[in-house]
Symmetry: C2
Subunit: 352 residues, 2 copies
C-alpha cells in the first residue's frame, strides 16, 4: 500500500501532478462525454465566501471518493470551505495527495467520506469502510476508511456517494426540511440515496437503485443494455455510457431535439415511478452528468405523470411536478458537502 500509511509521509504539495492515471475507458471518451465531472489534473481552489476560521470554529474534513476524481474539502458548510480535487488512479497514487491535503489542516475535528461502491457500511464488520466488489479492480477490497483513519487519527463517518449527496442536499440544498426524499445521480452509473423519516436508508447493505428492472422498449430501442450484471437494468439502459453506446455519440454532443432524450426520459421516468411507488418520496432530486442536460427535466416530469396515470393522488405530483422533480441546489458539490455532514455526525458520536 506504500508509505502513505506511515507517520513519516512527507507533506505533498497540493499542486504537484498526480501519479500516472489509468482508466478502462480512454480519457478522450470520458472527457467528451462528461467534461463537467472529469478532471484530468488537480483542481484546487478556495471556494467559500469566508476564509476558514482556523481553530476557533469546528472545522471538518470531507472526501467525495468518485470513480474519476476524489474531491476533498475542509470547512464547515457551503459558505466556508476549501476544496481540492485529485484524479482517481491507483489507490496509492490517489490517497497520497488526499492525505497530504488534510495534513495541511491541523485543527480538523473529524472527517467524512462518501464513496463510490459497493462499500461495506456496517461498523461491526471487519470490512467496514472497504470498497468491496467494484469493477475497478485496483480498488476492489481497498480499505478506504481505515487508510484515512490510520493516517489522520480522526473520528470518521463513511457512507455511499449518493447517500452522502442526499445528506448534503438535506442540510443545505433542495431537501432542507424534507424528511423523506430521493437523491438520484445519472452519470457514468445510476445511483440513488434516500432519507426515510429523516434518516438515511441503509438496510442490509445499501441501495443499488440503478439496478432495478424496468420495461425495455424493444420496438423503439434494440440496444441490449450496458450493465455487465444485468444488461438492461435501468443503469444498463439510461446511464451516460449506455446513451453513447446506443447512439454512437456522447450525450453532450446530441442536440436537445435528438430522439435520444425522449427515450432517456422515458426510462428515467419508469425508474422514478417505481421509486415513487416504493419509497413515496416528498421530493426527487436528480443530479449527475446526464442531468446537466437541463431539457431532460420537463421530459422526465411529463413522462412520470403519464406513467403514474393519476394513481398517486397527491397535489405535489398532479399539480406541482416542477417542484417535485428538481435538480440539486448544491450543483456538483452535494457529495463533498454531504461528507462534511458525515464528519460532523462522527464528531458528535466521538463526543458523546
Amino acid at each position: 500500500m506504500g508509505a502513505i500509511f506511515g507517520a513519516s509521509l512527507p507533506k505533498v504539495a497540493s499542486d504537484s501532478p498526480p501519479a500516472a492515471i489509468s482508466h478502462k475507458i480512454p480519457l478522450e471518451t470520458m472527457e467528451s462525454a462528461f467534461p463537467h465531472f472529469y478532471y484530468r489534473f488537480l483542481d484546487c481552489s478556495i471556494l467559500g465566501f469566508q476564509q476558514l476560521g482556523g481553530g476557533a470554529v469546528d472545522v471538518f474534513g470531507a472526501i467525495e471518493a468518485g470513480g474519476t476524481k476524489f474531491v476533498c474539502a475542509v470547512g464547515t458548510g457551503p459558505d466556508d470551505f476549501e476544496m481540492c480535487s485529485f484524479p482517481t488512479s491507483s489507490p496509492e497514487a490517489t490517497m497520497e495527495p488526499v492525505i497530504g491535503f488534510f495534513r495541511r489542516h491541523q485543527s480538523l475535528r473529524a472527517i467524512g467520506i462518501g464513496s463510490f461502491g459497493p462499500v461495506e457500511l456496517h461498523r461491526a464488520s471487519p470490512d467496514f469502510g472497504h470498497i468491496t466488489s467494484t469493477p475497478k479492480l485496483a480498488w476492489r477490497n481497498f480499505d478506504l476508511a481505515g487508510t484515512v483513519q490510520r493516517a489522520l487519527g480522526l473520528p470518521l463517518g463513511f457512507d455511499t456517494d449518493v447517500n452522502t449527496a442526499a445528506l448534503g442536499e438535506a442540510r443545505w440544498g433542495a431537501a432542507q426540511g424534507i424528511s423523506d426524499f430521493l437523491y438520484l445521480t445519472v452519470g457514468t452509473g445510476i445511483g440513488g440515496g434516500a432519507l426515510v423519516n429523516g434518516k438515511v436508508l441503509h438496510g442490509l447493505l445499501h441501495p443499488e437503485m440503478g439496478h432495478i428492472r424496468i420495461p425495455h422498449d424493444w420496438a423503439k430501442d434494440p440496444y441490449p443494455g450496458a450493465c455487465p450484471y444485468h444488461l438492461d437494468c435501468l443503469e444498463g439502459l439510461a446511464s451516460g455510457p449506455a446513451i453513447q453506446a446506443r447512439w454512437g455519440i456522447a450525450g453532450v454532443d446530441l442536440g436537445p431535439d435528438h430522439p435520444a432524450w425522449e427515450l432517456e426520459a422515458h426510462y428515467l421516468a419508469l425508474g422514478l415511478a417505481n421509486w415513487v411507488s416504493t419509497l413515496s418520496p416528498r421530493r426527487i432530486i436528480m443530479g449527475g452528468g446526464v442531468m446537466q442536460q437541463a431539457h431532460l427535466f420537463p421530459l422526465v416530469r411529463r413522462q412520470l405523470q403519464r406513467i403514474l396515470n393519476g394513481y398517486i393522488q397527491s397535489a405535489v405530483i398532479l399539480d406541482g411536478i416542477e417542484e417535485y422533480v428538481v435538480p440539486p441546489q448544491l450543483g456538483n458539490r452535494s457529495g463533498v458537502l454531504g461528507a462534511l455532514v458525515l464528519a460532523e455526525e462522527a464528531a458528535s458520536r466521538a463526543d458523546s
Copy 2:
C-alpha cells in the same frame, strides 16, 4: 351514515347476520378464487391461549379493514386475543357490527386500524383516517378513523393494511429484531409495507408497491394486464385476479406443475429484485392469498437469485435465501395483530 355514530346505538349481537352484501365480482367467483380469505358470514371465535384478563391488563382494540372482510380483535397479543370477522359491504352495514363488537368491551385503552387504501395518513390533514380514491365506490372518501373514534372515544392509531401487517410481523412474527424489512402481500391486489431503521416508511402518502413497472414477458405472456390504471404493472400481471384472467382458472385450481407458477414466480421475483435494489431489506416476508401456494416460495427464491445475478454481495441472499424470502409467521393474522401494535402506540401517545 346512520345511527352507528350516535350514543344511542343498540348493542349488536355478534352472531346476527350482516346486512346485504354487495360485490362487483360475483360471490361464486371470489369464493372459488380465494376461499382462504373470503368469509361470506360472520366468523367469531376466541382464539387466544389465555382468556382475556379484563380490566387488570391493558387491553387494546384492533381492526384489519380489508376489501372482503373486517377482522376485529381485542387483546394484548397473539396469546391473548379475541377475534371476530364481518364481511365488507357498505360502510353503514359493515361498521355497525364492528362498532358493536368493541362496545362489548368496556376496558379498551386504545384502538388500532390497518385499512385497505389508498388512505390519508397525515394527522394534520382534514382527511386523516379517510379511505380516499379506492375503486370501491361506496367506501370512497369514507371517514373510517373518525367513525370509529367518534363511536368509541378512544385514542386511535391508523395505517395501511400492509404497514400494519409489517408491524405485526415485527413484534411477534418473522421480522422480530429486524430493523429493515419488507412485508408483501400477493392476493386480490399486491401491496408492500416496509420498516426502515426500525420505523414504518410513509413518506408523501404511503407506498403503493404493487404498481411498480417490471419487464412484461410478451413472448411467453400475451395477457395485457389487469390494472385499471397501468395494465401491466406488477399487480396487473401477478395478482390473484390476473392469474385467473390469464389462464381462465383460479389460482387455487391450477396444479403445482402448471406453467402459471413459473411465470408468476418470475414476475414476483422481478418485483423483489427492484425492492432489494431500492430498500435493501434484511428480510422479505411474502403473505396473502396467492402465497398460500407454498410451492411458489422456492420458485421465487431461485428466480430472485437469477435476476440479481450475484450483484448484491450478501451471504444472506447468496447463501441464505431460504431465510431471506419467507412466509409470515403470524399467518393471516399479521394485520389484525399489527393493529394491536398501532393501538398500543396510540395509547402511549395519549399518555405522554
